[in-house]
């Protein structure tokens, strides 16, 4: 019985990880919507919301992939502290993609909420 519980918790955790992972690109595009940010700033923005915390080793390769796909552009800017920072911003393609993904997300989340809200309220 106890074993079953542990297994359920384990698969529940895996499911949550997959769910977050599937949203990661949209999270990055959305966080850059208001303007350019550098890696650490992106991470700090996400840390403000514990549901969106992302590991640092994931974000940097992802930024580089999004740039290779033409969704982001980057530039180096010298900081006051003297060390350079790599800032990322959305390209026109990136903005377009972010809008499309946001629309898909909103539709999906709406349908899901309608379906599962009664479950969450425990009716």
């Amino acid at each position: 019985m106890k074993e079953n519980d542990a297994r359920d918790r384990e698969s529940g955790h895996k499911w949550e990880v997959q769910l977050r992972k599937g949203c990661l690109e949209l999270v990055i595009l959305a966080v850059l919507w208001d303007g350019k940010l550098y890696g650490l700033e992106i991470l700090r923005r996400l840390e403000d919301d514990s549901d969106l915390v992302v590991s640092e080793g994931t974000v940097y390769p992802l930024l580089s992939r999004l740039k290779a796909l033409g969704l982001l552009k980057s530039e180096w800017v010298e900081s006051e502290g003297g060390h350079p920072r790599k800032y990322y911003a959305l390209t026109a393609d990136g903005k377009q993609r972010a809008r499309e993904m946001a629309a898909v997300w909103a539709r999906f989340a709406g349908s899901m909420s309608k379906l599962v809200d009664p479950l969450a309220k425990g009716k």
Partner: protein, 224 residues
Amino acid sequence: MNMQSEAQQKIDTYLKKLNEGLRGIKEADAREIVEELRSHIVEKASVGGELTIEGVDSALILLGNPKELASQYQTDDLLSRAEASRSPIRILESLFRWASLSIAGVFVLVGSLLGYFFGVLLILLALLKPIHPQTAGLWATRDSTGDLMVSIRLGFGEIPEGARDVLGWWIVPLGLLVGVGLVLLTTKFATWCVGQYRRSRIMPLRGRGKQFCFAERQGGREGS
């Protein structure tokens, strides 16, 4: 001052390991990756403009194993180079990597290996026919139950008893044509699949190309 240089040394060691893992990536790109992470570590580990050893340690732990970090960059880089590449070696190299990430990659890898294998075999056959005119070629035999069997022979060894050379000298132009065609087609197929996969790593959208759904295992660091 001593603390500072010790902290600095820790950063350098980490970045050196990372850089080693980035081998194969264009030098300018690799340098940019290393500099971006250096900037991250320095800013994260500094208190009032001074590096602290504890700060560096915790920043490095959060970034994770440098080899694993490098391998995430490698996957993306290999896929993007493979898509633009026409070299079967480079394509196969990236297919092996893809196969280690998802089951779809395994299928594409096996398909491409078969395509390249038969393509190269046919080209070889066409080239060896003039050297072994008596024995190289496509040989047809009937076995005891009367089923027709065709075997490809490069001309090393005996031909089976009662076998018939199906194409004769036609194997030279046909082998070259079909062999080269097969290699080109396999390349086209593989790069197309890689391109689909690469883009699908960003959330696939409805009505836009095929919906690939790959279960990825990125070095098993999902848990973090």
